[in-house]
Symmetry: C2
Subunit: 152 residues, 2 copies
Amino acid sequence: MRTPEELTELFRSSGRKITAQRQCIFRVLQGNETHPSAETVHAMVSVEMETISLKTVYQTLHDLAELGEIISLDVGTGMTRFDPNTGDPHHHLVCRKCRSVRDLVAGFPDLQIPEGADLGFEVGSAEIVFRGLCPDCQLSAQGQGADIPVRA
Amino acid sequence: MRTPEELTELFRSSGRKITAQRQCIFRVLQGNETHPSAETVHAMVSVEMETISLKTVYQTLHDLAELGEIISLDVGTGMTRFDPNTGDPHHHLVCRKCRSVRDLVAGFPDLQIPEGADLGFEVGSAEIVFRGLCPDCQLSAQGQGADIPVRA
DNA sequence: CCGGTATCAACAATGATTGTTGAAAAACAA
DNA sequence: TTGTTTTTCAACAATCATTGTTGATACCGG
């Protein structure tokens, strides 16, 4: 994702208008590596702008995704997560306890599908989701404690 | 997934009761490789039993998943999909046009996470989703036609 | 500064899934 | 078989994330 200033320009030049709300969302996403949901972005933006609506957040996230400035992901946490890291190709680590999501920056060149196993699909991309426990949950989960199901 | 007869036994021995509806769901899932959603299972079962409720289907699918007889998957199609193939470890092919899901039975032994890239996660499993076009959609999609978004 | 258009935010609607409930059916024991 | 207990059935309403609608307001280009 580009800087808030560049995004402002990009929005203008793509025929979109600039509002204080949108710029606030740009700032919140800037450098954010937590893969926030729309709800989470709304909560973060609300600290600065108490009256912003969740709908506005969804709209702007949609616009950013359409412009290729963020990636929207579904990793089975029940909510779409947004990733401003569009630079390097990567996969994702998902905590099965707290549902935090982090980037795993690594190429996996060996994802060749064995001859005949593709069932005739014309495969364009592959996403890997690694599931496990994040550092925080390793500490608090001494043996017991149920996982959060993949889909509530 | 085991045979409907074995499932009947399994349900009984796990303290669950057997109903005509449940057995009908067992039969519909038997050997089904299309990764149906709850809604789809309901439609299939309804051919035989017009009055079965969607709730009953959800309940039974939940029970089967709890017993490890089917796997519930979220591959970003907006609905949970159910996979009776619990035998061999596998990944999934997802059509980005019609959202059909098929198994890709192949091990990928080279999913080692590079030193230091795991951000401290204790990784337990990895799922790969291959996205592309299924054979049917390759035929009907001669150049144009929009993809169905990953999450409606 | 003004007109046209897009955005804002409150509200209601959607779609997948889950909770609740009274009636009916299964299981188990006698 | 028959009674008793317990579970399931299916209709209904609720939930959660997300999207549609709408009147009022704010941006933009000229």
